[in-house]
């Protein structure tokens, strides 16, 4: 095992897959000469050349659609959005083209494309640059979506996404790029679609989460331990396909659930998980499911307000207390 950062793990996944398959190429703003807005693609231009590491104009709709067209005729594009905030300009091609071409063509055309980049808030970037956009993407059948929380998962999820024959959205975390962790050197490290992971086993309460919030949940769990509350943290990793069995298994185990996500509450991931639980495991619940989300407002700039808007360790702890009636 090597210790590396989340960004290095992503870069390694890209490099390995580009070596393995000549049809894989990376395209996006600043991915080449600049080495990536977040340095994920550092060194790749030198290694693979301009045809496979492509700097684009600022033209999100254009290059997203270009990727889909190339995927339809057999290439495997990795399209980097500098952040998912900017992908909003490209959504027609993601939702109306990538997600639908297999179905509309009666299965004749597949679309093996990856759309990746950071989602969610960093620090004080305010309303337009701080959005966690999982929910809108998850609304569309035809897309898959995963959210790595650790360097190892970053590598395994991105590699699985690149090899997948469907369009996969890989939502990374801006604040995670510098995170260090152990990453297996295995070139076949793949986290296949629909596989969640228990990041911390526990027996009193389940925190179901994904992406950057896994770390908030783990910190909350560590503090809860001091109160002798044993929290389980389930990292969904893939939000579509969803590891329904893992989500239900943790409910069966603890009978109490807190859903934590970075995005807004309305039609959020937690709303979906709560529905799933009440449909499939109602009788196992000892308390109503509680959700911790971003405040239902655009992200404010001011430090204190931003802090209030974001899901925090304190709010996760409070939610756990609530489902435990403590």
């Amino acid at each position: 095992m090597a210790v590396m950062t989340y960004r290095e793990a992503l870069g390694q996944a890209l490099a390995e897959e580009m070596e393995r398959d000549p049809d894989v190429f990376l395209m996006g703003e600043e991915v080449g000469v600049y080495q990536g807005a977040y340095k994920v693609s550092k060194g790749l231009l030198d290694r693979f050349g301009e045809l496979r590491v492509v700097d684009t104009p600022i033209t999100e709709l254009g290059f997203a659609g270009l990727g889909v067209g190339a995927a339809m005729v057999g290439l495997r594009p990795v399209i980097e959005f500098m952040t998912f905030n900017f992908s909003l300009l490209a959504l027609d091609q993601v939702f109306n083209s990538a997600a639908k071409v297999r179905y509309m063509s009666g299965g004749q055309f597949k679309c093996p494309i990856v759309f990746r980049g950071p989602t969610g808030a960093a620090l004080q970037l305010s309303a337009q640059h701080s959005q966690a956009l999982e929910s809108p993407y998850l609304h569309f059948p035809g897309l898959k979506l995963c959210t790595p929380a650790t360097p190892a998962d970053a590598k395994g999820l991105l590699k699985a996404a690149i090899r997948d024959d469907d369009p996969v959205v890989v939502m990374e975390g801006e604040l995670l790029y510098a995170l260090k962790g152990e990453v297996p050197e295995d070139r076949e490290l793949l986290v296949p679609p629909g596989t969640a992971e228990v990041k911390r086993p526990g027996s009193d309460v389940s925190i179901i989460t994904h992406g950057k919030m896994v770390h908030v949940a783990l910190q909350a769990a560590a503090k809860l331990e001091q109160e002798e509350i044993d929290a389980e943290v389930l990292d969904l990793r893939w939000l579509r396909p969803l590891d329904i069995e893992a989500a239900l298994a943790t409910v069966y185990k603890t009978n109490r659930v807190v859903c934590v996500e970075e995005g807004w509450p309305y039609l959020g991931v937690g709303a979906q998980i709560s529905t799933l639980i009440q449909e499939e495991a109602f009788d196992y619940l000892d308390a109503p499911v509680v959700r911790v989300t971003q405040a239902d407002v655009p992200m404010p700039y001011s430090k204190n307000l931003e802090k209030l808007a974001k899901p925090s360790v304190e709010r996760v702890i409070a939610a756990c207390h609530k489902v435990l009636y403590r």
Partner: protein
């Protein structure tokens, strides 16, 4: 099902040009009688197919939106006559005729319009979403201008693989005002992609005349913004279309340079089957006057002038087109509807083995 890649593998070799149009730009494009009759057959098939579609639509056999190509046949027939089978075509929702010319059978196209399982897209796409991986026909797209970035990506893939194919990308003049058009032309010119951007300027985007929608009248001029070659062609004349597209295809194949071509044509029918033929945005007289320039009649006259078509031959070709269309409609009528098992198929590569993909829990429905 052949995926894009398998289809590619067969055809990537630098196949010889199927037929070499003469460059001396002789009358009738230097084509022999057989080829000319083939083009006339395509035009007639297109026309008869659309007439039958209108009839079936009126009978409720075809549903949804259905956009007819009547009046614009010379654009597709002329343009596509210079392509090789391994070249790609992508277009919008007014695409029945392009699909037929690319080699989809009238049966599979009509069955698709009828929403039947023998349709080219198994009845899941309908009139607006015809596809054939085998014939390099890439759809069939319903969002105005949505196919332009896709066609650009196909051009990218051709360049990436160092092939000598081209992608012919059709769209209506109304699509020119979308960002997707401008973003695509910029990338295609910047990266030298072998794409021919063919604007079918039929004067209207639904009820909005071109001059009411664009500050610049000459669409071809927009290419200048991207330092891209351009041309204007008479879209009612097969030979004019052929000549313009041939030049662009040569340039794309040999120099990987894209071209923007404006084909000036006219839509004889309403925007879609739910729109009356003239409506409130144009007069009956305007439509009647345009019909005087019926592209099929013009083509027939051109052939007759050179003694390359007599009455019997014309009747014979038309009878064949009508028969093919009748056969297609009968076939579509008899083709079964897609079974319920098709509902959840083709959304993803995998079947939903563990009920993880669909959030209405498919297992409940069964």
């Amino acid at each position: 099902m052949p995926d894009g890649r398998a289809a590619n593998a067969k055809a990537t070799s630098r196949a010889p040009r199927v037929e070499e149009p003469r460059r001396d730009s002789q009358r009738l494009g230097g084509l022999d009688k057989e080829k000319l009759h083939e083009l006339l057959s395509q035009m007639l098939l297109g026309r008869r197919f659309e007439e039958k579609s209108a009839e079936s639509y009126a009978l409720g056999k075809i549903g949804g939106f259905c956009h007819l190509y009547i009046g614009q046949e010379a654009v597709a027939v002329g343009a596509m006559s210079v392509l090789r089978p391994d070249d790609y075509v992508i277009t919008a929702y007014r695409e029945h005729v392009q699909a037929l010319i690319k080699g989809l059978t009238p049966r599979e196209v009509m069955a698709e319009l009828y929403g039947r399982v023998d349709g080219c897209s198994k009845g899941k796409g309908g009139s607006m979403h015809l596809f054939s991986a085998e014939k390099n026909f890439l759809g069939g797209w319903g969002i105005v201008a949505g196919q332009i970035p896709l066609g650009t990506g196909v051009g990218w893939a051709i360049k990436y693989r160092d092939e000598d194919r081209v992608c012919l990308c059709f769209f209506g003049e109304a699509a020119v005002n979308q960002g997707a058009f401008h973003e695509s032309l910029n990338m295609a010119a910047l990266w030298k992609l072998p794409v021919i951007f063919l604007v079918e300027n039929n004067r209207f985007g639904m009820g909005t005349a071109w001059e009411r929608a664009s500050s610049l009248y000459d669409i071809a001029q927009k290419a200048a913004a991207y330092d891209m070659p351009s041309a204007v062609a008479d879209g009612m004349d097969v030979f004019a279309m052929r000549a313009a597209v041939l030049e662009a295809v040569d340039r794309a194949r040999e120099q990987r340079t894209p071209t923007l071509i404006e084909a000036r044509c006219y839509r004889f029918m309403g925007h879609s089957m739910s729109d009356p033929v003239h409506g409130v945005y144009r007069t009956k007289e305007e439509v009647e006057e345009a019909k005087q320039k019926d592209p099929i009649r013009i083509f027939i006259d051109q052939l007759r002038e050179q003694d390359l078509l007599d009455e019997d031959e014309l009747n014979e070709l038309d009878a064949r087109a009508r028969a093919a269309v009748e056969d297609a409609a009968e076939f579509a009528e008899k083709s079964p509807e897609p079974g319920p098992e098709e509902l959840y198929r083709d959304v993803y590569a995998q079947e939903d083995v563990r009920g993880w993909l669909y959030f209405d829990r498919k297992d409940r429905l069964e």
